[in-house]
């Protein structure tokens, strides 16, 4: 039995999504059999969002039933799984914004329902930003007074609802987590365009966290995945309240040219940068750059890249590593795909341990 059924007659956009993202879906909480069945039954890209939403609804229903019986822990796990499935229904579905937003609303709703039920629980936090708000989920480790906190930056198609596994690895090591949707990301994609100058939203987030008495705002780390693997170092170039940075598969300098990228990713970039066409989108991409500023990074940084990454070559991490001023761990993982989701055991715990050390948590 192949774990990844592949029908030759499939819509190439579906095929592309399957071949790029299977390990990510499973590593981030989609049951393998769900992945196989939903993608096998999906011939056209146009069916993607509804197929995943239907599967998500099954998990949501299990959550509703468990909660009605008072089984909070089970309900929290079901709602989290439902949120991940709804999220993957919408993640690149920019071809039908109404449908995308409906699935997105369900993803946010399910994760919000899970937050008070999961261990440790989470809290939805609004961050004032440019006259409106960005939203994030704050979770604090059990039994730690005023823990350090890791600000978690999403990418082009990830959102805070996908982050449970990453969060748990920081939490179990004594660090609080704040996964937030920045401009152009998750809940921030309707009011705001993608923001290459990511130090701006990160400043707003840290200003907000500094006002809290339940976390140690003198020990703030930042973490970013995929495009967030650019955003996090970018913010670190300017935001000196950041004490350490982890970047996963981020670019050093985006190109104005989208050649070689999957068409659905290119479209997502165009829509989320609120560009009318690819030429405009290319101009936004060009502003995503660490050239000339990487040397401003003086805090410790940990860079992860895969040698088989088809979206961001690992040479981007090598270039950044060569230019930063502070201590740097460069982990180029042989055979790793984008975000090394196929070999996640080579970096997820390791980066969590490293971050805990940088932020002064006890080694465990």
């Amino acid at each position: 039995m192949s774990a990844l059924p592949q029908a030759p007659e499939k819509d190439p956009r579906v095929q592309s999504a399957i071949s790029h993202w299977a390990p990510r879906f499973v590593a981030n909480g989609v049951p393998l059999s769900d992945f196989e069945q939903v993608t096998a039954g999906c011939e056209r890209w146009e069916d993607w969002c509804s197929a995943w939403s239907a599967r998500a609804a099954q998990h949501e229903e299990l959550g509703v039933q468990a909660l009605a019986q008072g089984y909070k822990l089970s309900a929290g796990a079901h709602f989290t799984r439902a949120a991940v499935c709804y999220h993957f229904g919408k993640f690149l579905f920019v071809n039908d914004l109404a449908q995308m937003k409906a699935a997105h609303t369900k993803a946010v709703e399910c994760r919000n329902r899970a937050l008070p039920l999961i261990d440790p629980p989470g809290e939805r936090v609004a961050v004032a930003y440019e006259g409106k708000f960005l939203y994030g989920n704050l979770r604090k480790p059990a039994g730690v007074a005023r823990p350090p906190v890791v600000v978690m930056c999403m990418g082009l198609d990830s959102a805070k609802e996908e982050m449970d596994d990453y969060e748990n690895r920081f939490l179990s090591r004594g660090l609080a987590t704040f996964a937030f949707d920045g401009p152009g990301q998750g809940e921030g994609e309707y009011d705001f365009a993608l923001c290459p100058e990511y130090e701006k939203p990160v400043k707003a987030v840290i200003d907000c966290l500094e006002r809290r008495v339940d976390i140690d705002s003198s020990a703030i780390g930042i973490w970013g995945v995929s495009l967030g693997g650019y955003f996090a170092p970018r913010a670190t170039c300017f935001e000196k309240r950041i004490k350490a940075c982890v970047a996963l598969s981020g670019a050093y300098q985006r190109s104005s040219n989208f050649d070689g990228r999957p068409i659905i990713n290119v479209e997502a970039f165009r829509v989320r940068s609120k560009s009318a066409n690819l030429e405009e989108a290319g101009k936004v991409a060009l502003r995503m750059s660490l050239a000339g500023i990487a040397k401003n990074i003086s805090c410790p940084i940990y860079l992860v890249a895969g040698t088989k990454d088809r979206l961001t070559p690992h040479t981007a991490a090598e270039k950044l590593a060569a230019e930063v001023s502070g201590p740097c761990v460069l982990s180029v993982i042989e055979g790793g795909n984008h975000v090394v989701n196929n070999l996640w055991y080579r970096y997820r715990d390791q980066t969590a341990d490293w971050m805990a050390t940088q932020l002064g948590a006890a080694r465990c």
Partner: protein, 362 residues
Amino acid sequence: MSKDARVASANAHWAPRFISNGVLLADFEDVTSGMQRWEDWCSAWSARAAVHEKLGRDTLAAGYKLTASEHLTRAAVYYHFAKFLFVHDIPQMREAHMKAVECRQLALPHQRPPAVRVEIPYEGKCLAGFLRLPVFSSQTAAKPPLLIMVPGLDSAKEELEAYELPFLARGMATLMVDGPGQGEAEYDFPIRGDYEVPVKAMVDWAMGRKDIDTTRIGLWGVSLGGYYAPRAAAFEKRLKACIGLAGPYDFSANWDKLPELTREAFRVRSHCKTQEEAKRHASTLTLKDGIAKQIECPLLIVTGKQDRLIPWQDAQRMVDEASGPTELLLVEDGNHIANNRPYRWRSRSADWMAEQLGLPRQ
């Protein structure tokens, strides 16, 4: 390029189980896609296990104990699957098995919650097990209830952490034991149908513990253990509740339809010389002739309606005949143990057992 039928059979039956019990998807694909002959199974999985073992040992040396425990637990699962049905080459099987035991042993003190290895006196020797206490039992005066967990024909205590964690999270202590014919005990002790005998030894041992509430003991079993647990519950009246996952009602009735690898593993682990002898031995694994009726404690049976090894009707028969309160959780689109639908029963069965053992709803 045609695969060995035994490799194809193992893949077809077990992919969802491997993944849901801790094997990475990319590892499963890499290891099985490159394999043509069943003879390569154990060495291929052992080689992949060694990758995780090295990560674990290196991380442990660096002082990152939690991460090390995760790598080493994973390594143990991989070594376990290397050996799980590899009974045609016992020296190779045993070597992988000992690596599984060693890796998990290294992980035990660093897991959350930590585990300790215990040895339960049994017929002049010992049965090996892991005892884990739930995290918050140290924070309250009340002693936790205990769930005894037993594997099946080809599972062993090193594989089963994914099953164990939901019970620990709900406040039960867990005791995972390799019984006769299982895991570490398979060399000294053959499979026995009257599994109430080893379960009596486990409960007797538990009675001597000061850190658990011995008036609240439940029993859980998976696959062939889905027979062992109800069978023991029919005789061992100190058990307060029982969960059986996809076990046979009468194993000899299923015999002729079982995969070759499974029958052969049963023969070897029953210490039988021939398949005929093994089939006769299988007939001693039974709830027939009024045995099921003797089950009086609450009983939850879980099975998948698409199970190709043990038909779901066996589960139905158990709940129909048991005398106490019963519940049948039949997963319509579930395979053996419904491991393709873990979210339909894993947390729910843990909630059920917590309730039976008097724990508050979490």
